[in-house]
Symmetry: C2
Subunit: 441 residues, 2 copies
């Protein structure tokens, strides 16, 4: 029998506690699979006295995780501290420098330092594994890194943030506003006290940056991602989307096209009949479009202690089995520095909701401006949502602005923006237009 | 740079030709990933002269694949001959005996000889990889073998046969009969001239046997699988299912419970809102229910040259990277010989369609017999499908039998069977009852 793989767990929140528990309950299976026991020997966290529901007495305690990363009693560090820099970064860097394997769930850190750390890990021939950093329990990193070598990937997109999907699902099911859903999500522990990071799309962007790199063999480039969150989505948009056969999801989308690498995070209308539209609540999903497999969709838990720990333990099993692939599938040095395709060049369908003044000729005026930009309309819909009663005078006109919804065929974003600017200049609209991109399968 | 991995391809149908083409186009990526070129050096097929759209002149030709498996110019055999025995078996056995790696898409062979071949491969420390054998381009084998070590899997189920799913999708979308759809599927090349193997569920059973083994650590046991095909499904059942909020899919389902291992293949009603219900046409899907990840669903192409070749090439990439896991995730010797749970003990919901004589008291008589077996009914529906006009007399009765549909809560199959036998003995029904099991998420 081989020597045990000795694990040091840095960070003992829900995921850390789950990892320790699962490594105990699954010990014999993991040893059967790898021919080697995987045992926790050391732990580190901020507060030693806190009750975490697990017995830590058998493990060496470190007040400082970076010290643990240098310990000769540890072969592999599980980093669950969080944060793009600080102690998490110091711990990982030190672990690699000391020739130790690293398993982490830290997307923010990898989105920022992934390239540099991967290069360091390669040099030391240690693992830098991060299945848990994207889409929780969905093994999408393994699939991209090890299962797609036959494919040229064209596009990868997904629901990567459970908080946003939970909020959008409840807004639809219970006709609630964003703010009310957010408050409930916070009460239930699905959203942080400061929810900005989740609801404004930054968490999705970090995950997308990692998926992009793995899918296209490009350097991790989170800074170039176009990011738009869900706080502007109104119940009216959700109702309108439903009536038009769509559902609104916050997607991260990456495509490699003639303009370079397009990476974007924004609320997106997906056809109600698509697999991804069925993904409700905190569940995540990722779709890979590729030339050989065509379309592959993975649906599963995006967060939660056990689901995330499942990904960590899968990585640890690979490390124990000596299956240590290159962190990004190919060497960090061979990753391409991609040109970033600006959003102005984005081609796609659009849902545009204008709040127009309720008078004759407005729809015609709007349609004309769209035509001038050579934007073809799939549908144009002027109607009050079912729940609203018009207070119309005899001409059918009310005093308040009414929604006018346009669905366009594929058009360039710059043209859409320019048409909307003209419509606004024409004085046809009473509010800023709502614009939601459509993603087709 | 390491020595190239030299591949011998046995069987040059659509998949074989795709494998050769993809290994050429993806050569540099594969080498970047593994540090080792993967090159085809030899091929074997029945007919040397056939035009396959690829240039075979650079490869050594073998009339006999088993000879190729013994050649010193080959490190790894890709077996795409097909069939549970004969040349496919001989080739694989010889390859392993000669210390060569094997990659195969042959579910029938593995369902029959998988255990023995895995043991042989382990002894020789060679790969026996079979990602392509189940669900085509969906990397479910890799996930079960390498990604689930943190989990106790409770149930695995899926749409594993594209032909059946194509037929059921068309029956629903175009209100066609099974026979008409089958004929069309044959014309389009989605079904074989002799479709028995696909439509009667045997192909699904072979795949399920492999998934079960990987999921539960049990010996491959295809013979114990309960198998029922889709040829008995009528347009009426599809309509009724739709009205009740379900869709009919041919599922393979495996569960490990208190009665042992339950493996079954049968037409199944799944809630229309479930992810698996959205899977239409030749697409496949697999759902894994497990304690840590809860529910993981994978959707992708189940067949086709490129999709299947994608799985073969992924396996070859693992072999080249020296990532050669145990064929069934743990050693063949440690696989458990499971007790097979008989279908009589199956617990689940049922859709039962009776064709009853149209006279008073029939529904009551049926309901009484169900109650005697302590079967609770979720709904009972006596109605003509929308398309059929009743030819009723003044009492509301027609001469022809009418459908009476029952949906039960979870009940034991033996009780259902016994209630149906009594109902039939009571003379209430004019035809054999239709019974479709319901699978809930």
């Amino acid at each position: 029998m081989k020597e045990p793989l000795r694990i040091g767990v840095a960070g003992l929140g829900t995921v850390g506690a789950s990892v320790i528990r699962i490594l105990n309950t699954q010990a014999s299976l993991i040893e059967e699979k790898t021919g080697r026991p995987v045992v926790v020997t050391a732990v580190s966290a901020r507060d030693r006295s806190k009750d975490r529901g697990i017995d830590l007495s058998g493990y060496q305690w470190f007040d400082n995780a970076a010290d643990m990363a240098a310990s000769s009693d540890v072969d592999c560090i599980v980093e669950l501290i969080g944060g793009a820099d600080g102690m998490a970064y110091e711990t990982i860097e030190k672990a690699i420098a000391n020739g130790k394997h690293v398993v982490t769930a830290n997307k923010a850190l990898l989105a920022k330092h992934g390239l540099k750390l991967a290069a360091a890990a390669e040099k030391k021939d240690t693992a830098l594994a991060f299945e848990a950093s994207v889409a929780g329990g969905i093994p999408v990193i393994k699939i991209l890194r090890e299962g797609m070598s036959a494919n040229r990937i064209k596009r990868i997109y997904g629901i990567l943030n459970g908080t946003c999907n939970y909020i959008l699902s409840r807004m639809e099911n219970e006709r609630m506003t964003f703010q009310d859903c957010l408050k409930d999500a916070q009460k239930l522990g699905y959203a942080e006290a400061d929810p900005t990071f989740d609801v404004e799309g930054f968490d999705t962007a970090h995950k997308l940056a990692l998926l992009s790199s793995l899918a296209f063999g490009t350097e991790v480039d989170a800074d170039s991602i176009y990011v738009e969150g869900i706080s502007s989505i109104s119940p009216l948009d959700i109702t309108m989307a439903g009536e038009l056969g769509y559902r609104i999801k916050l997607l991260g989308v990456a495509e490699y096209g003639k303009n370079g690498l397009e990476q974007r995070v924004h609320p997106t209308m997906v056809p109600k009949t698509s697999a991804i539209a069925q993904v409700m609540g905190v569940t995540n999903a990722v779709t890979i479009d590729a030339d050989a497999v065509k379309e592959l969709t993975l649906i599963g838990p995006g967060a939660g202690g056990d689901a995330t720990a499942s990904a960590v333990v899968a990585d640890l099993t690979d490390v124990a089995a000596d299956a240590v692939p290159l962190p990004f599938g190919v060497s960090a040095a061979s990753l391409i520095k991609a040109t970033s395709a600006g959003m102005q060049l984005h081609q796609g369908g659009y849902y545009i909701r204008l709040m127009v003044h309720d008078r004759p000729g407005v729809a015609a005026g709007v349609a004309t401006r769209m035509a001038e930009e050579e934007i073809s309309l799939e549908s144009i819909l002027q109607k009050r949502p079912d729940s609203e009663q018009p207070s119309a005078d005899r001409t059918g006109r009310s005093g308040t602005p009414v929604p006018l919804v346009l669905i366009t065929y594929a058009a360039e974003e710059s043209r859409i923006r320019s048409a909307l600017a003209r419509i606004s200049a024409d004085g046809l609209t009473a509010e800023e237009p709502q614009l939601i991109r459509i993603e087709r399968e």
